[in-house]
């Protein structure tokens, strides 16, 4: 990888299934055809070479056998020259110390061949390559045959070198034509590969499309299986998976709806006895003056807890309305700064809060819901944070924002993502607080009902900062579906 020379010769690796099938088919075909052509060419070539060599050697001995009876024996130099002349060029004839040679090729005779001729007394050949030219070396003793057929070496040896360039050219031609034939096989291989790739790729594409539709939420998506191969089995399996997914999703939704309805029913059923209880405690409040200190403490506790219970039930019913999608928005033209100031004034918080409000910002929003949100945020800041608590109202081109900042210890990073969860308490040791545990959840639902959002972060100076952003034009009240879709992905823990 680090060497540039390697990366320069690296071929692009085929990625698509089609390309890979194509390459595999082509490779297999070329290899198979090459192997067949090569083995054919090789055996034909070696047969050609062998027959040529045999012919050369045969012709060599035939010439010796023809001229030998006319040679004087023991041979003199003239006899050796005659024999050599009869055998053509590139020939050596020896007898003892006598020697007759002609041609450059006579120097090619190897010692190995000479030794073989002397030991075996047979006609021997050896192929050699000198300077790129292939030569056939032929060597033979001339035998002395007795009338009864007994053969003894006469001492005469004849050697010759024969050029094999012509045969090599023929063999090379054979090889070339074999390679050409192998290359021809590539064309049908590519066509076959394309056909096979089509057969494989179509079901794969269909499956992929189905998987995409399933992933994007269309649980009715299915692929019709074709044939009985592995791809068809895969298709059937994917279909079964989609079916069971659909069934479990439906069951989950049903259970969720039932749970919500149950919560709504419970809170509704609790409201009537609670009204009675509230009325009773109010009567008790008027009569605490006649009681002893112990009794008064008990009554005060009962009153506090009853109020908390009432608040919890109200919040639960509000959450149920959000869950059921029946929460409705009643927007009206409102002066934002005035609405916030009115909210703080009604709770006598103006003195404890540092309000910085941009005046004259008018937006359409649900005053009651804004009041709920601001009261919750400021209440939390006063209760859990530390002064000074700052409320900042500002206007942006496309939205308005209400920021509530305190200077308390702030919210740890780990739990910041959970503060909007229902019944979430940042400090587990301090479980009993006046709040219902639903305040922030309801505040965020209210913000989202407006098409806005409620977020929390920790500014550099410490403390916690909640930012309520509302669009200048809120969503219409009759569009609960859109509101739900905007909410669901960000709260998977709700189930």
């Amino acid at each position: 990888m680090s060497r540039p020379s390697r990366s320069a010769v690296r071929w692009p690796r085929p990625r698509g299934l089609r390309a890979r099938l194509l390459v595999a088919f082509a490779l297999v075909t070329v290899l198979g055809a090459s192997a067949a052509a090569w083995s054919g060419a090789r055996s034909a070539g070696s047969a050609l070479v062998a027959s040529h060599q045999r012919q050369l050697a045969g012709s060599f001995t035939d010439r010796i056998a023809t001229i030998a009876p006319t040679l004087t024996y023991p041979p003199d130099q003239e006899a050796l020259d005659r024999l050599r002349a009869a055998l053509g060029t590139d020939t050596v004839v020896t007898y003892g110390d006598g020697r007759s040679a002609s041609g450059d090729g006579s120097g090619l005779i190897t010692e190995e061949l000479r030794a073989g001729v002397r030991e075996r007394h047979r006609l021997l050949t050896q192929r050699t390559v000198v300077g790129g030219t292939p030569w056939l070396l032929i060597g033979t003793p001339v035998m002395l045959t007795a009338p009864d057929g007994t053969r003894t070496p006469s001492g005469i040896e004849a050697y010759a070198a024969r050029d094999l360039t012509g045969v090599r050219r023929q063999v090379d031609d054979l090889t070339r034509s074999a390679i050409g034939t192998a290359a021809l096989a590539l064309v049908p291989a590519v066509l076959l590969a394309l056909l096979a790739a089509r057969g494989v790729l179509r079901p794969v594409r269909d499956l992929r499309d189905t998987a995409r539709r399933l992933a994007s939420g269309d649980l009715d998506a299915r692929t019709r299986p074709r044939g009985t191969d592995e791809l068809a089995q895969l298709t059937v399996t994917v279909n079964e998976m989609a079916c069971s997914l659909q069934a479990s999703m439906a069951a989950m939704e049903r259970m969720q709806a039932e749970a919500r309805r149950f919560a709504a029913d419970v809170s509704h059923e609790l409201r009537t006895p609670l009204s009675t209880l509230t009325a009773v405690t109010e009567v008790l409040t008027d009569t605490t003056g006649d009681m002893g200190p112990d009794a008064r403490e008990s009554v005060d506790l009962a009153i506090t807890e009853t109020r908390r219970l009432v608040r919890l039930v109200e919040d639960l019913m509000e959450v149920s309305r959000f869950d059921a999608g029946t929460a409705s928005l009643r927007p009206e033209e409102t002066d934002l700064a005035g609405a916030v100031r009115e909210c703080l004034r009604a709770r006598s918080w103006l003195g404890r809060v540092d309000l910085v409000a941009a005046e004259g910002v008018r937006v359409r929003l649900d005053r009651r819901r804004l009041d709920v949100v601001v009261a919750n945020l400021v209440g939390n800041a006063l209760r859990h944070g530390a002064p000074p608590v700052r409320v900042l109202v500002r206007a942006e081109p496309d939205h308005v924002a209400v920021e509530v900042t305190d200077h308390g210890p702030g919210i740890p990073d780990g739990v910041r993502g959970h503060v909007f969860d229902r019944f979430f308490k940042a400090d587990t040791a301090r479980a009993r607080t006046p709040g219902s545990g639903l305040g922030l959840a309801i505040a965020r639902e209210n913000a989202r009902l407006h098409g806005g959002d409620l977020t929390v972060d920790g500014p550099a100076g410490g403390g916690a900062r909640f930012v309520l952003r509302l669009p200048r034009e809120p969503l219409g009240p009759g569009d609960p579906r859109e509101r739900r879709e905007a909410r669901e992905p960000s709260e998977p823990r709700e189930a």
Binding site: R42, A65, L123, L124, T140
Partner: protein, 188 residues
């Protein structure tokens, strides 16, 4: 073509994410690639003529001899070979011609009638040598026929001819029997 191209593009898109796992550089792949090249090189090299060892191509040629072997009859009446030192083997024709000229001063005898005409016609066919001798069948005893047959066969075998060859002798005046194919009783 347009459809196929689009499909390939989409298929590439589908598998492209897994393409991050590369194995070009791994040792196994590199060894495998070297293996391919070696195989191709061997294939190509196997096609041309390479040097070889010493190969046996058969019988060595023969045919040289210090003289001609002629067959005469010794004092005991037995067929005997005699080397006539002519310096070379010569042909069947020359051998039989020399035989017809007689043993000379060697002390051997011949059972072939002397004749002034020693011209012999030799016709070699497959497995048989046919001799046309300038003699009448009556001029030659059976031993004399063996002399001719053995001499012709010896020259034939010494020149590299097959040992199983037979000889048929035709006379200018044929004898009563058929022209039999004969072999030499000494050399089989």
């Amino acid at each position: 073509m347009g459809r196929a191209g689009r499909a390939e593009e989409r298929a590439g898109d589908l598998t492209g994410r897994a393409g991050g796992r590369r194995w070009h550089g791994s040792g196994t792949a590199r060894r495998a690639r070297w293996g391919w090249w070696v195989a191709v090189a061997v294939l190509l090299a196997g096609c041309s003529l390479r040097p070889s060892g010493v190969v046996d191509e058969g019988e060595a040629p023969t045919g040289v001899a210090p003289g001609v072997t002629l067959y005469f009859v010794d004092a005991a009446g037995e067929l005997r070979p005699q080397l006539r030192r002519t310096g070379r083997l010569g042909t069947v024709h020359e051998a039989v011609t020399l035989l017809l000229e007689g043993p000379g001063g060697s002390g051997m005898r011949t059972r072939i009638a002397t004749t002034d005409v020693t011209r012999v016609a030799v016709t070699a066919t497959d497995g048989t040598i046919e001799l046309l001798v300038p003699l009448a069948a009556a001029d030659v005893t059976p031993l004399g026929i063996d002399q001719i047959v053995c001499t012709a066969l010896a020259a034939h075998v010494q020149a590299g001819g097959a040992r199983g060859t037979a000889v048929r002798i035709r006379f200018t005046l044929p004898g009563p029997g058929p022209d039999a194919r004969r072999t030499c009783p000494l050399t089989g």
